[in-house]
């Protein structure tokens, strides 16, 4: 007997525009406004709006139904800019009082691995955004792509978080079950909540796969699988874009979601927020000295940092940090932070490039090499810009802002 905990990740990156050698030193239009807007509109129609409307109905209908979200700062900024109705619909969900928001970095970055100060800044920034939009103070922390290790758990505890999420991967669990609350090694009180990746991926990845022996997956069948499970909670963590975008409407994904609470109720299974699990005593201590994530079979950071291009690009980015910040140029600082979004490095991944797999599906570039070339051209422009003093105009704008604040 157990309960389930649903957490959905909502994220959109600012995708880069075409930026060639010939643009360096000429302009700072690094991001493709038109494409980002188009993609946001498309995903809003296919996923965010219809899924939010289903969630709203479920929240109204079922007393015990509740959901947690983590929405990145870049996604929030795109909602404000391109799809205010999506932001409004999330706010409506929040008004039910049955939504929990999680903490993460504002820019969905890997800053924890490169620069602690930047990491602190982005977590703080994200906290501010969640407070501003949803009047909540998150208690539970999730790092970008569930990148996790012992040290991060300690850091999150120091920052005041009561729980942290990670992948419930066999590599760290051994014989143990992901469906219990754990304590990260070397921490005092913070709880570790683990994703049940099998059951999560049944929805997120396998749902429409006709070769899979679980196909077609109905809410009733799924509830039957969960019913015999023993534990504190089955944690189903997945990208929100699963609904309608990764799994299209014609796969039946929306109907699945609609029927899930009722199907679970037949087995007396109900819903919990991550923060509902804080009161549970940890079953055991989990030691994760090496960094893990929720990506690919390797569950490591190789999807973002596995090859020489990815390493060179990220190293170069964080090398520029102090110079960018001390330039005082708000536009450049903002651009630099948007360049820290992990998706840019994901697009440079070459490990499965041959196979036309999931990496390719999400990649706006023809090849990982194109992404690297564009990204490095932009970094070179950025590096050149910060060498030159901020213009008089931008100094005045900044002064005015400070005065107004």
């Amino acid at each position: 007997m157990t309960n389930i905990c649903l957490y959905f990740q909502v994220h959109q990156p600012f995708r880069l525009g075409k930026y060639t050698l010939f643009d360096i030193g000429k302009h700072t239009r690094y991001f493709d406004e038109i494409k980002n807007k188009e993609i946001m509109h498309k995903i809003a129609q296919k996923c965010y709006l219809p899924t939010n409307s289903i969630i709203k109905k479920l929240l109204d209908k079922h007393d015990d139904f509740k959901v947690a979200y983590s929405i990145t700062g870049t996604a929030l900024e795109q909602f404000e800019k391109y799809a205010p109705n999506v932001l409004r619909s999330f706010k409506e969900l929040n008004e039910t009082g049955k939504i929990e928001f999680l903490a993460e970095t504002s820019h969905h970055s890997l800053s924890y691995l490169f620069d602690k100060n930047e990491f602190y800044h982005q977590v703080k920034e994200h906290n501010k955004l969640i407070k501003e939009h949803f009047a909540q103070k998150p208690k539970v922390f999730r790092n970008t792509e569930l990148v996790y290790n012992n040290e991060l758990a300690k850091t999150a505890e120091q920052l005041g978080y009561k729980a942290i999420l990670a992948e419930g991967w066999d590599g760290i669990l051994g014989w143990r079950s992901p469906n219990y609350v754990y304590k990260p090694a070397g921490t005092r009180k913070i709880k570790l909540l683990l994703k049940n990746y099998r059951l999560s991926d049944d929805i997120a990845f396998r749902f429409s796969n006709k070769q899979w022996d679980g196909w077609p997956l109905t809410a009733e069948k799924y509830a039957d699988w969960i019913a015999p499970i023993m534990g504190d909670s089955v944690n189903l963590f997945m990208d929100y874009e699963t609904f309608g975008e990764h799994q299209w409407e014609d796969t039946g994904i929306f109907n699945f979601l609609r029927h899930l609470p009722t199907a679970l109720k037949h087995h007396n299974i109900s819903f919990q927020h991550p923060s509902d699990l804080l009161k549970i005593e940890p079953k055991d201590e989990l030691d994760v000295p090496h960094t893990i994530s929720w990506a690919d079979v390797e569950r490591d950071t190789s999807a973002w940092l596995g090859n020489k291009m990815q390493q060179a690009a990220s190293t170069k980015l964080y090398q520029l940090r102090s110079a960018v910040l001390s330039s005082g140029n708000e536009e450049l600082i903002d651009a630099w932070r948007k360049l820290s979004t992990s998706d840019h490095f994901y697009y440079m991944c070459t490990k499965y490039f041959n196979d036309g797999d999931v990496h390719k599906y999400f990649n706006p570039y023809d090849t990982p090499y194109e992404c690297f070339i564009t990204y490095m051209n932009i970094l070179q422009d950025l590096a050149q810009k910060i060498k030159t003093k901020p213009s008089l105009l931008s100094s005045i704008t900044r002064l005015l802002k400070e005065v107004n604040a």
Partner: protein, 402 residues
């Protein structure tokens, strides 16, 4: 079923070759014979008494006891124009007792006439012809033996001339395609081209992507400190050397210490040299002429990047050779190889800015070069000869069962 005996018409065979065609014929016949097929390869060139240009072919017959090389005296090389033929003829005629026709088309006719006798003499189940010069010969052979004909199109007249075909040649190509029981192209790109130009029903055309045989035996030292960007191919309109030289100019504006090496011969060479002079690039561009054997490997291995700006390239084996030598590639999207190789930089052949952008990035970021090199080299290992030969064997079966 017994493996079919093949009567194959071609006009390049290593070491007598000027491009990828000879390499492809060598690879195909070798792999076919390994899979148990007996191949008789009919060539228009005599191995005896040949000048340096017409190397003895005896060595070729050693590749397998299953391949017989039949020679018909002629100075034809694969990608020759009519004027080119005249020049070769003068070189060659001095060393020959007996001279056949002096005109390229007469040569093709003569080769076609002899094919009838060959078809009578040589036992075979299927006829396989490589590119236009052999098509009439193959059609004649088919008339005699009534065996099915597979026509293999490595390059069309449209590819070679940048869409300004010699109507006599395109007519011969069309005849070959029409008479064929099956047509093999080296890429989807090429298949679409012949559907467009010759209105051939798509169902008659099979795509067989090509591979290459050996990894380079030797590793060579890099000769220069400066980074090298390489062009390697015939200096003809098809291969885009004129685009390369314009790109060289642009790249050198951003990375002035780059050297550009241009390997190859051809009718456009004088023009390219003039253009390099005009652009003030004479100390940046090195012309080596045509290279062969280890010198080709040496050229690849000394380069940071190989650029193949082909205007129209049915496949582009040379790109695979580059990858096998550990040299990353920038290839035109107008090539067959671009369909199958992922770990490569790709642009349109005419997009000088896009090529410059990518080349400069490779020169500036060793990580990009390394990644392309490592992943490209690994990917190139997949392109063997066994797989295309197996597909060709499959096509023989199809035409024999019809």
């Amino acid at each position: 079923m017994n493996k079919p005996k093949v009567l194959m018409f071609g006009w390049e065979f290593p070491p007598y070759k000027s491009g990828g065609l000879g390499t492809a014929c060598y690879g195909l016949t070798k792999a076919l014979s390994q899979q148990g097929s007996k191949v008789t390869f009919v060539m228009p060139v005599a191995p005896e008494g040949a000048t340096a240009k017409f190397v003895k072919l005896i060595g070729a017959s050693n590749i397998s006891k299953n391949v017989k090389i039949k020679n018909i005296d002629s100075p034809i090389t694969a990608y020759m124009t009519s004027t080119g033929y005249e020049e070769q003829y003068h070189l060659w005629a001095g060393n020959k007792r007996q001279v056949y026709g002096r005109n390229l088309f007469q040569e093709v006719q003569r080769y076609a006439a002899i094919a009838k006798h060959v078809a009578k003499e040589e036992e075979h189940d299927v006829i396989h012809a490589h590119d236009w010069m052999t098509y009439q010969a193959a059609i004649n052979a088919k008339k005699i033996s009534k065996k099915p004909l597979v026509v293999h199109l490595h390059a069309t007249e449209f590819d070679r001339t940048g869409d300004n075909p010699d109507p006599r040649i395109s007519h011969i190509e069309w005849q070959g395609l029409k008479e064929a029981d099956k047509i093999i192209t080296n890429s989807e790109y090429s298949k679409q081209n012949i559907i467009k130009h010759y209105k051939i029903p798509p169902g008659k055309i099979e795509v067989v992507h090509w591979g290459i045989e050996e990894a380079p035996a030797e590793k060579f030292e890099k000769p220069l400190d400066d980074k090298i960007v390489l062009f390697l191919g015939r200096m003809t309109i098809q291969k885009g050397p004129d685009y390369f030289i314009e790109v060289a100019k642009k790249v050198s504006e951003y990375e002035p210490h780059t050297k550009f090496v241009m390997v190859g011969d051809g009718d456009m060479l004088p023009r390219i040299i003039n253009r390099a002079t005009e652009l003030g690039l004479m100390d940046r561009v090195i012309f080596t002429g045509a290279l062969s054997g280890n010198d080709v490997h040496r050229a690849f291995q000394s380069a940071a990047l190989y650029v193949m700006p082909s205007v129209s390239e049915p496949f582009g084996l040379v790109a695979l050779e580059s990858l096998k030598n550990g040299t990353p590639i920038l290839i035109s999207k107008q090539s067959g190889v671009a369909e199958v190789v992922h770990h490569a930089l790709k642009t349109d052949f005419w997009d000088i800015d896009a090529m410059t952008n990518k080349i400069v990035s490779v020169l500036r970021h060793p990580e990009l070069q390394e990644e392309l090199k490592e992943k490209g080299n690994r990917e190139a290992q997949k392109f063997t000869l066994e797989e295309p030969a197996r597909k060709v064997m499959e096509i023989y079966k199809q035409v024999l069962n019809k």
